[in-house]
């Protein structure tokens, strides 16, 4: 059967299914539909990628741009993420005398990607990351006046918003996108593509007035996209069935840092259209999350900041069990290995000197909201968390020796950021347990943010994708603070190229 005929049939299927709930990701031919609305550029999703795509599309001549957001609020998962932005050759690196390069950042990511990351995409993102950072600053984003060195990065290259959250970027970008003239519509769920006779994406079906979880709420309309559709729909970490199909260990007992809308229908619709599925089984858990609060909470950023000068301790042994700044997968796997004698989860603890922990604003929050605690002695910590005291004391003494020597023979941690930061009283402690956080997998794109077809290898005309919905960029393990630059750069790339196409 010719592809076109097949699509026509799919179109008929979609029409018959039209009244049934959850008829999403149907593909229909434009001959069969009347368009209710028309825009130059249609963007699905309002996180970093969708917002930056809208701004760039407008700046590159789009007459009208619309962002459709499924949830009631704008910003997607980006609005609740950690606000950490890695970029090489930035003004702050120049000021702090950090010697970095595009190539170093790419190499760090290739190492964490364990041989299967997409080098061309990583290089494209690293090359344009500083420019994307500048766009956020132009929009009004503010950053802490210091750099951080996150796990797996060989140097300090990470900016963080002064509110320690991605909302410090999405809120200014949303304002900027609207100022540029982009239309933003919430409660508007993507339900499938509309193609023309040449298999080009020329529109989308949108369920307006959609209330999350009520699949038959609202009404479906047909929206024309004169220049193209940009899919910026994020990951699927909240879709337990789908993530378990890829990785059965990520069952309902594993928490998740994402907004409830991270369920992946946009990605699935692209697969139905013919996009190449890449690395779907690589779903990253955040090793800095806490079992004492929901989602990303406050502890995540607290831990990310403090890991370089902290110890993570297995409560049953009183000993360290990992390099605290290894890449995320290494640490999450190590934490999941912390069990009691019956094999039940025994969340490890992270011990930090209060003097150093209190340098980050989240320390105050963590203590205030009772998701982290302050102690005057190791005895108190041992008693509270049932840790063997002598072993713990020995471990802290040993570790402080590594701080002095600048070398960690136990786990090979880079001790640069731990210089002179001994673990000493008073202490702060949080508990750690991984949460599903980020989907490395998704649809394959090229450096033009074009979505590739699995049969022809060519790009699907009229279709672009950016951000977490795309796959393969990072390989096995994405390094922390590398998602925002990817979303921003690829969003900008999509916004520019949709106007060239």
């Amino acid at each position: 059967m010719e592809r076109r005929n097949f699509l026509k049939m799919a179109g008929i299927g979609a029409i018959t299914m039209g009244t049934a709930p959850a008829a999403f990701s149907a593909t229909v031919c434009d001959k069969d539909v009347a368009f209710d609305k028309s825009y130059d550029v249609v963007i699905i999703g309002s996180g970093f990628a969708g917002l930056s795509a809208a701004i760039e599309a407008k700046r590159n001549g789009a007459k009208d741009v619309v962002i459709f957001e499924k949830l009631s609020m704008f910003g997607g998962n980006s609005a609740i993420n950690g606000g950490l932005f890695a970029a090489p050759n930035t003004p702050m690196q120049a000021r702090e005398g950090v010697n970095d390069s595009i190539e170093t950042m790419v190499q760090d990511q290739l190492t964490a990607g364990r041989g299967i990351a997409d080098e061309a995409l990583l290089r494209h993102v690293a090359t344009n990351a500083a420019e994307a950072l500048q766009l956020t600053i132009e929009a009004g984003a503010e950053y802490h006046p210091y750099l951080q060195q996150l796990g797996g990065h060989s140097v300090a290259r990470t900016y963080q918003t002064s509110v320690s959250c991605g909302a410090g970027i999405t809120q200014p970008l949303l304002k900027m996108a609207r100022k540029e003239g982009a239309v933003t519509q919430n409660r508007a769920k993507f339900e499938g593509f509309i193609l023309n006779a040449n298999n080009q994406v020329v529109g989308v079906k949108i369920r307006e007035g959609y209330y999350f979880g009520r699949e038959d709420s609202g009404k479906v309309i047909n929206v024309k996209a004169n220049r193209g559709v940009i899919m910026a729909t994020g990951g699927f970490a909240q879709n337990i069935k789908l993530r378990m199909a890829q990785d059965p260990t990520l069952n309902h007992e594993v928490g998740c840092t994402n907004v409830e809308g991270s369920t992946g229908e946009g990605m699935l619709a692209m697969f139905k259209l013919g996009a190449v599925p890449v690395h779907l089984a690589h779903i990253q858990s955040g090793p800095w999350a806490s079992p004492d609060e929901g989602g990303f909470g406050y502890v995540s950023n607290y831990s990310i900041y403090n890991f370089p000068h902290s110890v993570a301790i297995h409560c049953a042994t009183g000993k360290r069990f990992m390099n605290e700044i290894a890449d995320r997968k290494t640490r999450a796997d190590a934490e999941l290995g912390c069990r009691d004698q019956d094999g039940n989860p025994l969340p490890p603890i992270m011990i930090t000197s209060y003097e150093h922990a209190s340098q980050h604003p989240n320390c105050k929050k963590v203590l205030k909201y009772n998701v982290g605690w302050k102690f005057d002695s190791l005895e108190q910590i041992a008693e509270r968390f049932n840790v063997p005291l002598t072993a713990l004391e020995e471990q802290i003494t040993e570790y402080n020796g590594y701080v002095k020597a600048g070398k960690d023979p136990q786990f090979g941690k880079i001790m640069d950021m731990a210089k002179d930061k001994y673990i000493k009283a008073p202490y702060t402690v949080v508990r750690l347990w991984p949460k599903a956080h980020y989907c490395q997998g998704g649809v394959q794109v090229n450096v033009n943010a074009e979505v590739l077809d699995s049969m022809s290898g060519e790009h699907i005309k009229g279709l672009y994708a950016a951000g977490e919905v795309t796959g393969g960029v990072h390989g096995v393990s994405r390094l922390g603070s590398c998602s925002i630059p990817e979303c921003m750069v690829m969003g900008m790339t999509a916004g520019r190229n949709v106007m060239k196409g």
Binding site: M73, G75, D292, K365
Partner: protein, 117 residues
Amino acid sequence: MKLVKYFALAAIVLSASTGAYAKDIKPWHDGFKCKDCHDQGLKSFPSDQSCLQCHDVDDLADATKRGGDEEWQNPHNNLHYGKELPCIECHSEHQKPETYQPLCLDCHTFKYEKFKG
């Protein structure tokens, strides 16, 4: 017993005919009719603009203003969504307060002691 049942039914029919029936509403909204809020039809949620017929976002943000390091925990002008979070993400007229909670508590352990539902 039968009389009580009959009386209750009559009361429901009576209130139905006046348009305010079936669902409990919060006492401070006493006297409201369904259509006062349900501007998208009675089977749909009130629109995100419905509450704003009477409430002003800036006034609400001012009333729940917080200082110092809690500045952005103001539910009506919060860190993640500014002043744009639709009311029904936290508030409900017809559900029992113990069955739902403000959106923030999905991730945070904040205490909103004045939250009335």
